[in-house]
Amino acid sequence: MSLLEITDLETTFDTQAGEIVATDGISFELEEGETLGIVGESGSGKSVTALSIMGLIRNPGQVKNGSVRFRDKDLHSLSDRELRKLLGRDISMVFQEASSALNPAYTIGHQIEETLEVNDYKGDPRERAVDLLEQVGIPSPEENLDKYPHQYSGGMAQRAMIAIAISREPQLLIADEPTTALDVTIQAQILELFNDIQEEMNMSMIFISHDMGIIWEVCDRVAVMYKGKIVEIAETEQIFKDPKHPYTRGLLQCLPQVSEQLEPIKGTVPSGATLPGGCTFHPRCEYATDACVEGFPESARVGENHRASCYLYTDHDESGEAPSGKLPQNQNEKPINY
C-alpha cells in the first residue's frame, strides 16, 4: 500500500473570466520514504496540487473530483476538524517564501510551540522548539526563538519554516518551491538540510520546483506538469536521460546549463480560462497532429515506471504502429549531454 494515493484530482477556480481548471485529473502514488518531484512552469498547477492534497483549497476554488488517500484514509471525506488533526502532525508543508508564510505578528518560538500544542505534543514545547532550531541549523536557538520573522534572513526564515514543518515528525512533507526566493549559495544550504532531514526521519516528500537542476538533485521520481495535467512521470534518471513527452524534451532544451544550443519551445503558456482544446500542448508542439487537436491522450506506459500522455505513444493512431519509440531522436537536435 502506498503512503499517498491520488486519483483523478480535479481542482477548479471560479473567476470573472470563467472557470479555470487548475488541476485536471491528476493521479499518482507516493511510497514511503520516497521523494517525488513535481516540475512545471508557472500556471501548470503544481502549487494547487499541493494545496489540494492538504485540503486547503478555499473559495473561489474547489476540489471537484477525485480522491486523496493518505494511509488508506480518504482525506477529502474527513471533516475539517479531523483533517486539521492530521495536518501539522502526519502531513506538513513548507511554503515558497518563508518570510510570508510565517506570521509576522508572532515570534518564531511562539509559532513552533503553537504548532506543537495544537498537535498534542506531550513534552515541554519550549524545549522541543530549541531542539528543532538546533536541528535545522539555526545558531543560538534560545535567543532566536524570541525573535520575529522579519528579524530573520531569508535562509534562516526558511530553516525556521522547516523546523515548524518537521516538529511532529510527519510522514509526508510537501515542499512548494522552498528555495525559489533564495540566493544560490543559500539554496545549496537548504537543499542540504532537506537531504539531512529526510535521511534522519525517513519521511516521504513531494518536492515542487520549476528548476530542473533541483529536481535532479533531490527527487527519486518526477512528475512533469503542463496546464493542470501530468504529462510525464518517471524515475528522475529516466526523465533526464530519455524524456518521452515533447514538452519535457522542450523544457530540457531550454536549460542553458545542459543544452549547447538553446531550442526554446515556441509560443507561450496559454493562460486563463481559454485553454486550447484537445492536448493543451498541441499549439506549441512540433509533433502535433489532427488527433492532438481533438482529444487528450490517455497516460500510456512508455517504459518501466515511466508513463507519458502523448498520442505518440498511444494506440489512438489507426495505423496501428508500435505504441512506443515513435518520438525519434530529433535529427537536427544535438544530444543533451550531462
Binding site: G154, D183, T185, A188, M212, E217, L255, Q257, V258, P264
Partner: protein, 322 residues
C-alpha cells in the same frame, strides 16, 4: 581589433541612511571601487547574489544613481561629470533594460506610447513615422503591430520584457545594460529571451552588459564575466576560464552551488551563514566570514589586492606574492 566602448574606473556608490535627531547616519558601500571595461560588440556579465551591488553598479554607470567617486568613460568620453544636456545625448547610445517589466512599464500608457517615448524626446520624426517605427520594433521583438494599442497588463511577463527591450532599441543604442532581464520568467520564456538577445545583437551591432544572479545565463550568454560580492569585484575574466577554473573561493562556491542535471551534489562547497550586512561589512577581506579557504589572520586584517594571471583576476590572499 575591437575598441573599448565602456570603461568604469574605481567606481563607488555609497548610500547614506538613517541619520537625524541625535543619531549619526550609516553609510552603505553599495558599490566599492569597481573597475571594468566593455569592448565594442562584446557581452559582459556581472554576476552576484542579492545585495552584492550589481544593480546599483548598472544604474551608476548610466548615472541614474550619481556615483560617489570614480570615473565612467563611454566611447572615449568621460561622462561622470556631464551636464544634464550632455547626459541626455549620451543616454541615446546607452540604454537600460529593467528587471521587473511590471514596474518599468507605466501601467497607464499604451504600448505605442511606451515604445515611442524615446522618439518623442529625441527625434524629429513625424507621428506617422513614429507609428511606423513602433510597428517595426514590435515585429522585431516578436509581437504584432496591433499590440501597440494595448496596455502592459494585458501581456504576459515575457512579452512585457520584450516591450522593454523594444523601448530600449528605439534609438539604436550601442550599449544595452540589462538588469536581471530574465528573472521571474519561466525557463521556456527565458530561453526565448536569450535567443532574442542573441539575434538582436547580430542585427543591431549591440554591446551588452548583463547583470544577473543566474550563473547559467552568464555561462550561456557572456564572453567575459565579473563576479561581485558585497559591493566589490572578487573575480573577473573570460567566462569560459572562470567557469572552468575559478580562482576565488567565492566563485568556486557559487559555481558548485548551481544544481545541474547530471552533476552529483556530493562535492559541493557549502558556505556558512548568509551575506553580512552591507551596512557593516567585515574588516579585511569582505568574504573571510564565510570563506572555506581562509588562510589566516591576514584575511581578517588586510583587504587583498587584485591578483592577475592571464587576464583572469581574483581578489584573494591565496594569490599574494610570497
Amino acid at each position: 581589433m575591437s575598441s573599448t566602448l565602456l570603461e568604469v574606473e574605481n567606481l563607488s556608490k555609497h548610500f547614506e541612511s538613517g541619520g537625524g535627531f541625535l543619531r549619526g547616519s550609516t553609510k552603505t558601500h553599495a558599490v566599492n571601487d569597481v573597475s571594468l571595461d566593455v569592448q565594442e560588440g562584446e557581452v559582459v556579465g556581472v554576476v552576484g547574489e542579492s545585495g552584492c551591488g550589481k544593480s546599483t553598479l548598472g544604474k551608476s554607470i548610466l548615472r541614474l544613481h550619481e556615483p560617489s567617486s570614480g570615473r565612467v568613460t563611454f566611447d572615449s568620453k568621460d561622462i561622470t561629470n556631464l551636464d544634464p544636456k550632455g547626459l541626455r545625448d549620451v543616454r541615446k547610445d546607452m540604454q537600460m533594460i529593467f528587471q521587473d517589466s511590471a514596474l518599468s512599464l507605466n501601467p497607464r500608457l499604451k504600448v505605442s506610447r511606451i515604445i515611442d517615448e524615446p522618439l518623442r524626446e529625441h527625434s524629429t520624426m513625424s507621428r506617422e513615422e513614429r507609428r511606423h517605427k513602433v510597428s517595426e520594433l514590435l515585429e522585431e521583438i516578436g509581437l504584432k503591430p496591433e499590440h501597440s494599442e494595448r496596455y502592459p497588463h494585458e501581456f504576459s511577463g515575457g512579452q512585457r520584457q520584450r516591450i522593454g527591450i523594444a523601448r530600449a532599441l528605439t534609438l539604436n543604442p550601442r550599449l544595452l545594460i540589462a538588469d536581471e532581464p530574465m528573472s521571474g520568467v519561466d525557463v521556456s520564456v527565458q530561453a526565448q529571451l536569450i535567443k532574442l538577445f542573441n539575434e538582436l545583437q547580430d542585427e543591431y551591432n549591440l554591446t551588452y552588459l548583463i547583470i544577473t544572479h543566474d550563473m547559467n545565463v552568464v555561462r550561456y550568454m557572456t564572453d567575459r564575466v565579473v563576479v561581485m560580492y558585497l559591493g566589490e569585484i572578487v573575480e573577473r575574466g573570460p567566462t569560459e576560464e572562470v567557469f572552468r577554473d575559478p580562482k576565488h573561493p567565492y566563485t568556486k562556491a557559487l559555481l558548485s552551488a548551481i544544481p545541474t542535471p547530471g552533476k552529483e551534489s556530493g562535492d559541493r562547497i557549502l558556505l556558512d551563514g548568509a551575506v553580512p550586512d552591507p551596512e557593516d561589512p567585515p574588516q579585511g577581506c569582505s568574504f573571510h566570514t564565510r570563506c572555506p579557504e581562509k588562510i589566516g589572520d591576514i584575511c581578517e586584517q588586510q583587504d587583498p589586492a587584485q591578483f592577475d594571471v592571464n587576464g583572469q583576476h581574483a581578489k584573494c590572499h591565496l594569490y599574494d606574492e610570497p
